[in-house]
Chain length 407, copies 2
């Protein structure tokens, strides 16, 4: 894409109404725009990042048997009354139609919708197990929304729900999801910094698990066992001051940002909706459920918190809005190289604007596209390439650049 066609522009100055680094850089780069506290528009570059994250998450969900669906944002009050959650959450957006006087919830999670839905299609042991996921906008009436994309009133989530005959099947799938989540975090570049974290299991299980990306700017305190590379959260450390895996008591206090959570719901939501199946002997049993979330827009914010420097964002290649940022300087033309890259199917942002080299370099650093390629009168038929993550530049032929990007 030509940068002269791009709707957005970068800005030098940090927005005054943003405290969080992720929001400051993403707004300055024109990836997102704040409509109001906790509510952001995703602009062309930002939406490309979101789509890349979605694609990775979707692929990993399909690997573990997930079938994609899309559940409504509007939920009827009755379903939330049924589970006792209508009045239980302060962060629920509730409202009334002025026509019908129907009362609605804006979905922050979808157990109240998917359990009755599953009841329409799951009858016997032969219909189990089933795994359903969606990527959907969710809503929370947050008291404070000050962490940019890390804590929104409107945000994008992937939520997966699983349905099982018995504990053994639920347990086995729960392990499988852990593996899929590790693949997701590895693929978006956060693998090394993201640890499985033991959290309270509620009334049904000993533990649930969070995936926490260790970050000084994270909102959560976790206690890391460096031997096992697992952590426990605040609730758990109060109950037991040792690593649940190895018993190690030398845990390091660290800050983390929660990027995923997995939870054995068991019969918590199947019971109120009488979601049951007939086993091989013809007996009726309650179905066991698991739920598994990943914050898609939050992940985008966490990636920025993790990968940046003083000049801007440093996108991991897997989620970057483009692979190459092609700059033409001082009336040189990069048009031929742009066309050649486009023809080869390389995602390239072509800075064809009439601005100074300084402005273009500053833009490239802020936008954080993994590879910068510069054509100037000095490059003399070749192209100067530099990785956003390193300081060394290299001059190569056009063909060599294409070869590297296509192979």
């Amino acid at each position: 894409m030509k940068q002269s066609d791009l709707f957005t522009k970068t800005t030098k100055n940090s927005p005054k109404d943003e405290e969080a680094l992720n929001a400051r850089l993403l707004v300055r780069g024109g990836f997102v725009q704040k409509l109001m506290a906790g509510v952001y528009s995703f602009l062309p570059l930002g939406l490309r990042v979101i789509r890349n994250i979605e694609k990775i998450v979707r692929e990993e969900m399909v690997v573990i048997g997930g079938e994609e669906i899309s559940l409504p944002v509007l939920h009827p009050k009755a379903n939330w009354v049924q589970t006792g959650r209508w009045d239980a959450y302060d962060t629920l957006f509730r409202f009334t139609s002025h026509y019908s006087k129907n009362e609605y919830v804006l979905g922050p999670t979808h157990e109240e919708v998917i359990a009755p839905l599953a009841k329409q299609f799951i009858f016997s042991y032969q219909d189990l197990p089933k795994y359903l996921f969606q990527i959907q906008t969710k809503f929370r009436d947050e008291k404070r929304a000050k962490s940019g994309l890390l804590r929104g009133r409107e945000f994008l989530m992937k939520d997966l729900y699983s349905f099982h005959q018995d504990d053994a099947d639920l347990d086995a799938y729960y392990e499988k999801v852990q593996g899929a989540y590790q693949s997701v975090f590895a693929r978006v570049g956060l693998g090394e910094d993201t640890v499985l974290t033991f959290a309270s299991g509620g009334s049904f299980s000993q533990y649930s698990h969070e995936f926490q990306t260790l970050l000084p700017s994270g909102e959560d305190t976790v206690y890391l066992c460096e031997k096992c590379r697992v952590a426990v959260n605040k609730e758990i450390i109060k109950e037991q001051s040792a690593c649940p895996s190895c018993g190690n008591t030398d845990l390091q206090e660290r800050m983390g940002a929660e990027v995923g959570n997995i939870f054995k719901l068991k019969t918590k939501y199947s019971a109120p909706f009488e979601l049951r199946y007939r086993n091989e002997k013809g007996e009726m049993h309650e179905i066991l459920m698991g739920c598994y979330g990943i914050g898609i827009s939050r992940l985008m914010g966490v990636i920025v918190e993790r990968f940046h420097d003083d000049k801007g964002i440093i996108w991991p290649e897997s989620v970057a809005p483009f692979r190459v940022h092609l700059l033409e300087l001082n009336s040189a033309s990069a048009k031929d190289l742009y066309n050649a890259l486009q023809e080869k199917g390389v995602d390239v942002l072509y800075d064809d604007t009439d601005r100074s080299a300084g402005e273009k370099f500053a833009d490239a650093d802020l936008l954080g596209i993994p590879l910068r390629a510069v054509i100037s009168p000095k490059t003399d038929g070749n192209v100067e390439v530099k990785s956003r993550a390193s300081d060394t530049t290299e001059v190569v032929s056009h063909e060599e650049l294409i070869r590297r990007l296509v192979s």
Copy 2:
């Protein structure tokens, strides 16, 4: 995909709470499920249709220069007060945060968000024109929601907004969008039945335009000029009883379902937000806007209303959830052919369930996948193929079927 893995099942009986044919067939086929009046979940097969429609719409928007973004569902009250629409619409979902007492709108359209957004990035004539679109869930507090996917309280829309220096530029782009819309409707199979329809232009233009698919079950009355294949809507017929294109007064009254609309907003929304640009002489002028909608989920409903018979849906190939429905009957195995089709990248639904031939045929007719391929003891190493839209069957070799689907 194997049908035995599919979350959903078909049902023989029409749901009692659905009047509209599109909803009855889509619910029976397991494409969608009604959560409450006007609010549907999209299940695996239904989401595949939605994604196919989205892809066609997205491609045609990109052809005419559209840049994709994603705007929030939650809008602040202030923006709607600014345009005078806070109190003007009965169908606006409005509500209040119980924490902050902030008042919100659930977006039914996005002029109130995109005009102030554009103000952040459009300053001079050099930044114009710009074309931004999104595919986003929208909300209307409908008095009655009884037409299935044709009139929802929650629905999926594509909305495109354009920004221009002057009328000539807006007019030229408006024509271009007409062409893109015709391509969209042709590609989803509705080209011949969908007519450009003259509608009121409001206070700024003589006309706006709707795209109406002529359907006995449509909610709108239109007056068709068979010479020009254009129509006028009810408002216009009151003002002038002739075709605005050719003056023909012999107009046929027909029912239609609105699948798209295009509107020259001119300065209606740029004025309240002071959305201006600096021209070549340094003078400030208001930016002219156009807006262009296509109902994605409504289109799915209209396709079903148009393409069905007594037995079920007949999907056009471009939007069908799968290309081939492969049935194995009476203990024959279609596994090898399934694997061969999968390897060639053909989207195939493989009915590997242990049910009678009658049940499988009824399913195939209801689900409406364009090509049915049957393997039975009778086919003797070959495969019996039948188009959903015709009554004739043909027996061909596996290789021949693959050849036809891959070429």
